[in-house]
């Protein structure tokens, strides 16, 4: 059973979602992200076919499902890294269907990747500073004149250092990102994503390859994002973690959303148990495509 809500924001999120009907395509009181009829097929295989899904603002929403359920594909579609065959989705009222992936962070939506993409030959602090938006020195003609961007750079560096301290990475500040462990890379990627000052953070399997000792602190970090007013959507396999941190759970299987609800409702939902464990052995095999 999940712990009692630990913070004001957690209680607020739970309260807002308490009245939502726990069914696929649930309508939520204040969604930040709404997707309609998003479908993506690779050849003959329909990887994602989601009729309707919403993410409540200020909540931590988990996207779970067996291997091959289409979670990461849906993530890629929503973040613009892949294009659906049909469908539209809105982030904070903006239609995102035609928005290139590099434009989403400026709108307040940022993602991380399942396989960490730390920039190995850049020091940790440079990784962090890369995340800051609207940098004057990123235009090459300004780049040649440091006075134009030095002050902004200093402010960015301060923000990066503060985030590194928060994620307890400050001792690695000047090391190459390539020397970090798997778990530290996950932390770095999350911290770097926060440099864009997002409203919605999308984490693709934040716990994959992270050792158990670090998992607890990663959980705390994810909770702290909600405390800072951000919305979190994350893909996860680890059911314990999902129970631990999420306010709402969306379950996918074979490309479709098969269940939604609070973690308590989900763990007793027969459709979820069937998707994960299989009522019939053969059924489970197809779900595990």
């Amino acid at each position: 059973m999940p712990a009692e809500p630990t913070s004001e924001t957690a209680r607020a999120a739970r309260a807002a979602l308490a009245t939502v009907a726990p069914e696929p395509g649930a309508r939520e009181p204040d969604p930040i992200l709404v997707a309609n009829g998003v479908r993506r097929a690779f050849g003959g295989v329909v990887a994602v076919d989601v009729a309707h899904v919403e993410v409540q603002r200020g909540s931590i929403t988990a996207l779970i499902g067996p291997n091959g359920a289409g979670k990461t594909t849906l993530f890629n579609l929503l973040s613009g890294f892949d294009t659906p065959d049909v469908g539209e989705w809105r982030f904070d009222g903006h239609n995102m269907s035609r928005v290139a992936p590099h434009r989403t962070p400026a709108m307040g939506m940022v993602r991380t990747f399942q396989l960490t993409k730390s920039l190995t030959k850049l020091p940790v602090i440079e990784n962090m500073k890369l995340g800051a938006m609207h940098q004057r020195g990123e235009r090459w003609w300004n780049a040649l004149i440091p006075p134009l961007w030095r002050r902004q750079e200093r402010a960015i560096e301060e923000r990066a250092d503060a985030l590194l301290r928060r994620f307890r990475m400050d001792h690695m500040r000047d090391e190459y990102a390539g020397t970090l462990s798997g778990g530290q890379r996950k932390l770095l990627e999350m911290a770097r994503a926060l440099m864009t000052e997002p409203r919605l953070v999308m984490l693709d399997e934040p716990m994959a390859g992270v050792n158990p000792a670090l998992k607890q602190s990663l959980n705390d970090h994810i909770r702290s994002l909600r405390d800072d007013g951000m919305t979190v959507l994350f893909v996860e396999h680890d059911m314990d973690m999902v129970h631990d941190v999420s306010d709402w759970v969306i379950v996918m299987a074979e490309g479709a959303v098969i269940a939604e609800g609070t973690p308590e409702q989900i763990s007793s939902n027969p459709a979820v148990i069937e998707a994960y464990l299989g009522v019939h052995q053969g059924k489970a095999m197809t779900a595990d495509r």
Partner: protein, 334 residues
């Protein structure tokens, strides 16, 4: 064996015009390949843009020689867009294939009989640089400097401005690469999806890097054709790109000093090896126990073979190049 002459020639090559034009081409290639990860195998085409920009002022346009630079710049931008637009959205290897093909197309077009009127065909273009020569304070026939650094006034009139240009371009690239712009392109080299997810338009940065590196390569072609006083299509073949790449790797990629010193060392080693073997075969073929090892006619190709062998050894023993960062290199293995 005249060691004085061998060393003297090698030292002159170390600081000579060949080292200058290689250094410029290598710095440009370093911006593209070393920093941004763009595999440009067609640097020779960008160099040809500079050369033909100058040459065509006399050959076709009949305008002042000084228009050569802006014309060359225009050629680079057009070439960069033609090559970049279709390939920069794709994986790195596509750019490599397209650039190598484009460079050959450029060379074949400028040397073709059909377009002789514009580019001078396979004879190239001569006599376009008098306006530049007239500015030189050096007497073309006289020699200046102290041994072994003795050069004719003719050579010095491009050698000195050439090295000044190398210094300016090095400072330009160095300051670009320590700026936030440099951070973005280095990050693109590491993982472009990560950079995209952080809100940077990767495509634009790659295009900028391709064209900035191309413009620097163009300057290389300008220096080279000014020094030779002629523009020859076959000076811009694939070999040139690969020798420049060799010099770049020799010095160490993603270091400004690496491209410059790498080019200087490349010419030092090459001239040293070449002159050494010429001395060796000067009095007839070198024989060991009645078997001919090498004749004077074989020296040229063998020198290139030895340079190649040296590079292989360098790759095995010191993959980061002479000035590269070993720590950075080791991260690739992970």
């Amino acid at each position: 064996m005249d060691w004085g002459s061998i060393l003297g020639n090698a030292i002159r090559a170390f600081v000579g015009t060949d080292a200058v034009y290689f250094a410029l081409a290598a710095i440009g290639l370093n911006v593209q390949f070393g920093y941004t990860g763009l595999l440009n195998f067609g640097q020779a085409a960008f160099m040809a843009c500079g050369a033909y920009g100058l040459g065509m002022t006399a050959q076709y346009f009949g305008i002042s020689f000084w228009w050569g630079l802006p014309i060359g710049l225009l050629y680079v931008v057009v070439l960069g867009l033609i090559v970049g637009i279709p390939t920069l959205r794709l994986r790195a290897d596509y750019l490599a294939i397209v650039t190598i093909a484009t460079a050959e197309i450029v060379r074949l077009v400028v040397r073709s009989v059909r377009f002789k009127e514009y580019f001078g065909g396979s004879d190239g273009i001569n006599q376009f640089s008098q306006a530049y020569r007239d500015l030189s304070p050096f007497e073309p026939g006289a020699t200046y400097g102290i041994t072994p650094f003795r050069f004719t006034g003719y050579t010095l009139s491009t050698l000195l401005p050439g090295w000044i240009l190398v210094a300016i371009v090095s400072a330009f690239v160095w300051s670009l690469m320590r700026s936030p712009w440099g951070r973005v392109v280095k990050a693109i080299r590491e993982d472009e999806d990560a950079v995209r997810s952080l809100g940077k338009n990767v495509y634009t940065y790659k295009m900028q890097s391709l064209i900035i590196g191309g413009v620097i390569g163009m300057l290389s072609g300008v220096v080279f054709s000014l020094d030779r006083g002629s523009v020859q299509p076959d000076n811009y073949s694939r070999d040139v790109t690969f020798y420049v790449l060799t010099a770049l790797v020799l010095g160490g990629i993603a270091k400004v000093s690496g491209s410059v010193v790498g080019s200087m060392l490349f010419w030092f080693i090459f001239v040293f090896v070449d002159n050494f073997m010429r001395e060796l075969t000067a009095d007839g073929p070198l024989k060991v126990g009645g078997v001919t090892v090498i004749e004077s006619t074989q020296v040229g190709p063998v020198a290139y073979m030895l340079v190649g062998l040296g590079l292989m050894l360098l790759m095995v023993l010191r993959p980061q190049g002479l000035f590269g960062n070993k720590k950075e290199m080791a991260l690739d293995a992970r």
